[in-house]
């Protein structure tokens, strides 16, 4: 029996989406704060990202002479994709705004559309660094996407459903007891994907200052003003969405009460942010050549999970 009826718009999810929109910049703050604590600094205020966004939105913009109309479309499309993805993602077992059988492909598709847009915009500047960044981004995306889909396929196999909301709604203690190791494997894989998609250490270092080593940052070098704000915010939304899903998988506490569940979900999201912060401050970024191996490893994990379920 389906817990979520597809092909229906879940209005309650609007509120959840709004929550995500409001809270996602906070995630950066949390991560930075954790890193600062580890480094023994006081660090930026938690709401720094909000300030940055506000400032950027107030600014004008500078565009390269090389660029075309395509250039400013990149951030817009990226943000739009992130938002659309947010509409699909459930939070704390509660369904997303829209859901249908197979929306996990749409989810992945939206993410990769955003990536496509960013990369195209980067190439539009004709800068060698941004081309380099785009090349790396697209390269890493291949195994990351594979790991993500296979991981979700494993979840689908475990829960017997093909829509994100449904499958995450079905994950609870019982399933964990039933298929604990598999879900753990999947969770790990999806966590690695999360790191890759949100460009965190060990895949990418968001606040490096050497273009040669950047991946995502270098692609947005030429964006400024509102465009940059859109990019920054898009990152936030993307991170929120992925964290929400992963939290839904890892924190499978489902009380019947929606409010409780949602708050649990939000707690899970921030817990994940903490973990990311810990990871960032406890290890260095990998050599670029090693990153694909890491992601292929993630793919292997989710494939292993899937095969364990199939046998």
């Amino acid at each position: 029996m389906p817990l979520v009826d597809h092909n229906a718009v879940h209005w309650g999810a609007l509120a959840r989406a709004a929550l995500g929109l409001a809270l996602c910049p906070l995630l950066f703050g949390v991560i930075n704060r954790v890193k600062a604590k580890f480094a023994g600094r006081t660090g930026q205020p938690l709401l720094q990202t909000y300030f940055d966004l506000a400032r950027l939105l107030k600014k004008g913009a500078v565009y390269s002479r090389t660029t075309t109309w395509l250039f400013p479309m990149g951030p817009l499309l990226g943000l739009a994709c992130a938002l659309a993805a947010l509409c699909l993602a459930p939070l704390g077992g509660m369904p997303g705004l829209l859901s249908f059988e197979g929306d996990l492909f749409l989810f992945a598709g939206l993410l990769s559309l955003g990536r496509f847009a960013t990369a195209a915009a980067a190439l539009d500047t004709g800068s060698s660094f941004e081309g380099m960044g785009a090349s790396r981004e697209m390269q890493f995306a291949v195994p990351a996407e594979l790991a993500q889909i296979l991981g979700l396929a494993a979840l689908a196999q475990a829960t017997g459903s093909l829509s994100l909301s449904e499958m995450l709604a079905r994950i609870d203690m019982v399933r964990w007891e039933a298929a604990g190791p598999v879900l753990a494997l999947t969770g790990t894989a999806l966590f690695l994907v999360l790191l890759a998609e949100t460009c965190r250490i060990p895949v990418d270092d968001p606040n490096t200052h050497l273009e040669l080593t950047m991946i995502h940052e270098v692609m947005v070098l030429d964006h400024s003003g509102p465009d940059l704000a859109f990019i920054l915010y898009g990152q936030g939304v993307k991170m929120w969405t992925l964290c929400a899903m992963l939290a839904g998988l890892l924190a499978p506490v489902r009380s019947g009460d929606p409010l409780l569940d949602v708050s649990l979900g939000v707690a899970g999201v921030f817990a994940l942010a903490l973990v990311m912060g810990v990871v960032e401050s406890s290890m260095a970024r990998l050599r670029l050549l090693l990153v694909p191996r890491l992601l292929v490893g993630a793919t292997a994990l989710s494939a292993l999970a899937l095969i364990l379920l199939l046998r």
């Binding site: 390269s64 395509l70 249908f100 539009d124 090349s135 697209m138 396929a153 017997g160 003003g225």
Partner: protein
């Protein structure tokens, strides 16, 4: 029916008419006009047949030696025929503009003669109701396309491509001969034929399996399946662009069509599905990996055609497995996914080839690493190429996504089946699909970036100009069609299921929830577009009245940037193509920095298809061995008499004992 006959007739008339006039312009106009007209005429009955099943059959009362044959349109034919005719018509319009700049260098008659023949043959292949007719049209298609490929025959590489193509298609046709001439053969094979009911080809062998193999090799070689379709990346780029569009966008589908017919006719065995999925997956990955390391844009497109043919075959394979293990949902999903992908790929790949053609026309340069910055110079072409790339990568909200979604769903459903019979193939299909999607995105963002974005890398690109209207409008039309096809995906799926209904009873009912699902997806597409529009307006309002300056690209303080420091396509794709080097055997040549002040540093990659080289090597080897036999004819009349005497004795020995 009369319209359909008129369509075929128009093609034939056009073929002859284009040869008559001596003036270039007249021939150009006549040929393209007739082709376009024929396509329009044909579209009407095709769409009718798509909407409601037609019962007419166009019987050709043909005098001996052929006897009579019949043409007809059922749903499947119509579903293949509709995009085919549309694309060929657009190709005709585009081709008129494309050929116009060859005035004085070539005659316009022959190309249009063969184009019309090609159009007629393809229409015939999709609508033939008789094996002999199928053969006739098939050969006509192969020949006319060969001559179109060889249009620029002054170029040695084109001749080589043509030769390879001719031999390959003839070898493929040999299998079709065997398929269509076996006693009691019928085309299209009737549904639900018991295996071997009609076949007595090889006593002992499993007849249905034999037919399947014959069809797979015969049709598959036209569909460009590895390792049979190795000619494809050679032949398609060699043709003039509007022809490449038809070859890649339409002719490949004739192969898929043939295989689909055979699959639907017989009760398949599981190993059929395994074979199809293995071949399809292999082709898809090989194709997209080959596209990674191409230097010329049209070759890149051809390789990606190979990939998409592979994806269609994956769909067919899943559908076949579904039928073999009676999982009707998987069957319906797989087949319809293949059909829808067929339509989408047709549209997008033709559009891409049109764009490549207008780049060739505008910049006169086909090497991507020599192009760049064309979006400013040819905005329409660039935009169209962007849209088509999004579509071909299967990204939302365009049509390509729908077909890849269905394919993925079919694989997932296969995984979720209670029986474990479909697990491994479905997993393989899923993995191949996602892998290809990822790499395709990299390929096309790289190609688009290298060709249209950044600064021009050569004088040719510097002086590029937009294509003439005749070439521009078909591109614009298709580019506008692309998002529509994304939003209308549910409709398309419904049509495909309806078309499959006669072969797979109950397909439509099973597919209903998926249709609603796709509708939700279209809702998300709409949402996405709305968000995009909203953000766009937001940005407009934000930036109004603020100072928006322009400056140089951020160059990290490097004072003398040139266009040559931009990332080329080769370097863009290098990390990924390194991953797949073992598969494609791409020959990357890197000039590494050297000494304290390095002079030249560069990287260049070009795939030499391994399978093709292997084939050619094998052929040459055989040739050489056989050439040794030429000594038998050594000029001594005595020995010749000895041959006669020996034959006499041998035959006597045979006869009298």
């Amino acid at each position: 029916m009369t319209l359909f006959a008129a369509c075929l007739l128009t093609f034939l008339l056009g073929a002859l008419a284009s040869l008559l006039p001596r003036s270039f312009r007249a021939a150009n106009a006549l040929g393209s006009g007739f082709a376009a007209l024929g396509c329009l005429l044909g579209l009407v009955p095709a769409v009718q047949a798509l909407a409601s099943p037609q019962d007419w059959e166009l019987i050709l009362y043909w005098p001996p030696p052929w006897g009579l044959g019949a043409l007809g349109l059922d749903g499947i034919s119509a579903l293949f025929l509709t995009p085919a005719l549309g694309l060929m018509g657009l190709g005709a319009v585009y081709g008129r503009g494309y050929l116009a700049n060859m005035e004085g260098r070539k005659r316009a008659g022959p190309p249009w003669f063969f184009y019309n023949i090609l159009a007629a043959s393809i229409t015939g292949v999709f609508s033939a109701r008789d094996p002999l007719l199928l053969l006739l049209f098939w050969e006509g298609m192969a020949l006319s396309s060969y001559f179109l490929v060889c249009m620029e025959d002054r170029d040695g590489s084109v001749r080589r491509a043509g030769r390879i193509y001719l031999v390959a298609s003839h070898l493929g046709a040999a299998f079709l001969l065997a398929l269509c001439l076996q006693p009691g053969a019928s085309w299209p094979p009737a549904y639900g034929l018991a295996p071997g009911a009609s076949v007595t080809m090889l006593p002992g062998a499993d007849p249905a399996g034999l037919i399947f193999l014959l069809a797979l090799v015969g049709f598959g070689s036209k569909a460009g399946l590895a390792p049979l379709g190795v000619w494809l990346p050679e032949a398609h780029p060699a043709a003039p662009s509007h022809v490449s569009a038809v070859l890649s966008g339409v002719m490949i589908k004739t192969g898929v069509y043939g295989i689909l017919r055979v699959l639907l006719a017989y009760q398949p065995e599981p190993w059929w599905g395994w074979t199809l999925i293995a071949m399809g997956g292999g082709t898809a990955v090989l194709g997209v990996a080959g596209a990674l390391s191409q230097a010329e844009i049209k070759r890149l497109l051809a390789w990606s055609s190979m990939e998409n043919a592979g994806l269609m075959l994956l769909g067919l394979g899943l559908g076949t497995l579904g039928r073999a293990h009676d999982a009707p949902l998987v069957a319906a999903l797989g087949f319809s996914a293949a059909l829808i992908h067929m339509v989408n790929h047709g549209v997008f790949k033709s559009l891409l080839f049109f764009c490549a053609g207008s780049v060739l026309h505008g910049a006169g340069e086909r090497r991507m690493d020599q192009l760049g910055g064309l979006l400013k110079r040819m905005p329409a072409t660039g935009t169209a190429f962007l849209v088509a790339s999004l579509g071909i990568c299967g990204l939302p909200p365009l049509g390509g996504f729908a077909s890849e979604l269905l394919l993925g769903l079919a694989a997932m459903k296969g995984l979720l089946l209670p029986t474990s019979s479909l697990d491994i193939p479905s997993l393989a299909a899923l993995a191949a699909l996602i892998l290809c999607a990822g790499i395709a995105a990299a390929v096309f963002v790289g190609a688009f970036g290298a060709v249209f974005l950044g600064e021009p890398r050569s004088q040719a690109a510097q002086n590029a100009h937009e294509a003439p209207a005749l070439m521009r409008w078909p591109m614009i039309f298709l580019a506008c069609l692309a998002p529509l096809m994304g939003l209308c995906a549910p409709l398309l799926l419904n049509t495909a299921l309806g078309v499959l209904e006669p072969a797979l009873p109950g397909a439509q009912a099973l597919g209903a929830p998926l249709v609603t699902g796709l509708t939700t997806a279209s809702l998300v597409f709409a949402l996405l577009l709305a968000l995009f529009g909203g953000l766009f307006l937001l940005r407009r309002t934000l930036l109004r009245g603020r100072d928006v300056r322009t400056g140089p690209t951020w160059d990290c303080g490097y004072i003398a940037p040139t266009a040559r420091i931009q990332y080329t396509y080769s370097s863009f794709a290098q990390p990924l193509s390194e991953m797949f080097r073992s598969l494609t055997g791409s020959t990357g040549s890197a000039t590494r920095p050297w000494r304290l002040f390095p002079v030249r540093v560069g990287y260049f990659a070009e795939t030499q298809d391994r399978v093709l080289t292997a084939f050619l090597a094998a052929f040459n080897f055989m040739d050489a061995r056989l050439e040794a036999l030429h000594r038998l004819q050594q000029g001594q009349v005595h020995v010749y008499v000895l041959y006669i005497a020996a034959t006499l004795v041998a035959l006597l020995a045979w006869g009298l004992w």
